[in-house]
């Protein structure tokens, strides 16, 4: 389920619409340029595939089943620019046809899933040269970043999220993220047996990727700071009331000690910062872990040229 209309504060959805619209416009042009024209039907059909794949139940133990979100899978097979466009097309179709997610909130949903989810999910894949850890982490990070962004946006909009629910959400996100990572890896491996050569050769750490990472981080913090700086009223009392600020600071106390001292009088800033920092910390943590995991054995899973 995506964020519906009527949930986000005006400044939040406006900011995210303003961020997402030109980004998608740019990516659409880039995807169009990068590909020859046969990619238009391909991208549309792969978007429909994601809908269809969500009908498949994946048993993940204890009688529960998971579903594939697919942002990371798309970015590994079509490349991140095309994957962003396909995810945007999926989200817009869900908002229009299935009333899943709002129209004004489309910018927020696109930002969370089609931009952050796709590009942050693609980074470990590219950085680790497309090996198994990279694919798993790609799925994990893709889902985690989308979910945390959505939660931070709701919190920034003053939707009260009590500490217990916040903690519960974090746990659920982590479980979903692990499932997404595992499913992405399993589907990629199945795909590699069925149709070798579909996976794209991941590019190494290039200047472009560095720029993308920088841009993503700048966008994230920019958005957070913009919202925070333009919206000091209301949020303050709300944050205190709901205890989110306390919860968030407690959660990120150790790594954020310095910042906390500086911003302790602005709970709303701490809150937005905590959201962003949360993503960054998880991301860096995952990268460090993956480095350990893959040191020594670097077998790429299917990096064949297309």
């Amino acid at each position: 389920m995506h964020i519906p209309d009527g949930f986000l504060r005006t400044r939040v959805w406006v900011t995210l619409d303003v961020v997402a619209a030109p980004a998608i416009g740019y990516l659409a042009r880039r995807a169009q340029r990068e590909f020859d024209h046969h990619k238009v039907p391909l991208m549309g059909v792969m978007g429909a595939f994601i809908f269809a794949a969500q009908m498949i139940n994946f048993p993940v133990g204890n009688g529960t089943s998971g579903h594939l979100v697919g942002a990371a899978l798309l970015s590994f097979t079509l490349g991140p620019a095309a994957a962003s466009i396909v995810m945007t097309a999926i989200l817009a179709t869900q908002a229009l046809v299935f009333q899943d997610g709002g129209l004004l909130a489309l910018g927020a949903n696109v930002f969370n899933m089609a931009i952050a989810g796709v590009w942050l999910g693609y980074l470990p894949f590219a950085l680790l040269g497309g090996n198994r850890a990279g694919i798993f982490l790609g799925g994990l990070i893709s889902l985690l970043s989308s979910a945390f962004l959505a939660l931070s946006e709701l919190m920034l909009s003053g939707v009260p999220i009590p500490p217990a629910i916040f903690a519960l959400s974090c746990g659920l996100f982590l479980i979903s993220g692990i499932i997404e990572g595992a499913l992405t890896l399993a589907v990629v491996q199945a795909l590699d047996r069925i149709q070798p050569g579909v996976m794209r050769q991941p590019k190494g750490i290039t200047r472009n990727l560095g720029l993308a990472l920088g841009a993503a981080a700048a966008l994230l913090s920019g958005a957070g700071i913009f919202v925070a700086s333009t919206h000091p009223d209301g949020i303050q009392s709300l944050a205190l009331q709901t205890g989110i600020a306390g919860q968030a600071t407690a959660l990120f106390r150790t790594p954020l000690a310095d910042y906390q001292a500086a911003f302790v009088r602005s709970p709303w800033l701490t809150k937005s910062l905590a959201g962003i920092a949360g993503i960054v910390i998880i991301y860096v943590l995952c990268l460090v872990i993956s480095r350990f995991l893959t040191a020594g054995r670097r077998q790429a899973i299917a990096p064949r040229p297309n």
């Binding site: 389920m1 009527g6 046969h38 059909v45 595939f49 048993p59 396909v86």
Partner: protein
């Protein structure tokens, strides 16, 4: 199936269906912005918006009860957050989440249920949405049903061997997803081949049947005007 029902609704003939997609998109967006900025003091506003949207339903000649019910699809999600708000001691906020969520959903539903998808995409193109993205959406929408049928046929086939769909192993399920991916990929190539065979050279020709006429402009102006004036009169 929601998708099929909305497709059927969008092909009905009515004064609202006849309006240009761009006019309806503008009207809907203005309405949505007005709703999204409602605060907890403006319950009267909410009632007026509901009345405004409710009068649009008979204009669309669609089954009123089904439309009003269909828009409630957002409520389970909204209810979760409303409940949390209510528990946190903010009943006003809880009510507003539900009301804004429902009104927004009804607005969007009226737009999509009175505008066939191709026209809607053309309407967004007039508003400068990236053409490339809209084409991807067009293909996505076209092949949604085809691939969903393929997926359910695969589930049936897998289920008939495994005893039941629920009995599928993780490995089989991921294999099925892989096969579905490969088939979708192959289908995309076949579609491209069929397009090329008919002279496709990289751009999909436009085929406009609708022109933006004076009644369309009037509709957009009246609908947007009503939505805004409700906010102006009742702060």
């Amino acid at each position: 199936m929601r998708h099929a029902r909305i497709e059927r609704w969008s092909r009905v003939a009515s004064p609202l269906h006849r309006r240009h997609a761009t006019a309806k998109i503008i009207a809907a967006l203005v309405m949505l912005v007005c709703i999204a900025t409602l605060t907890r003091q403006s319950l009267w506003c909410c009632a007026l918006y509901l009345a405004l949207l409710a009068t649009a339903v008979p204009l669309s000649k669609l089954p009123p009860a089904r439309i009003l019910l269909s828009a409630a699809a957002v409520l389970p999600f909204a209810l979760c957050f409303a409940l949390v708000s209510a528990i946190s001691g903010e009943p006003d906020r809880a009510v507003m989440l539900l009301v804004r969520g429902y009104l927004s959903s009804l607005t969007a539903l009226l737009l999509i249920a009175t505008t066939p998808m191709p026209e809607l995409l053309a309407g967004f193109e007039v508003l400068r949405a990236p053409r490339f993205l809209l084409q991807v959406m067009q293909f996505l929408y076209r092949y949604l049903v085809v691939l969903m049928e393929e997926a359910s046929a695969m589930q049936d086939a897998a289920g008939s061997r495994a005893g039941s769909i629920r009995a599928l192993q993780l490995r089989q399920a991921t294999g099925a997803a892989g096969v579905l991916f490969a088939r979708s990929y192959g289908r995309a190539q076949a579609i491209h081949r069929a397009m090329v065979a008919r002279g496709f050279d990289g751009h999909i020709p436009e085929f406009r049947t609708h022109r933006f006429l004076v009644p369309d402009a009037l509709f957009a102006a009246v609908a947007a005007g009503l939505a805004i004036s409700v906010r102006l009169v009742l702060p």
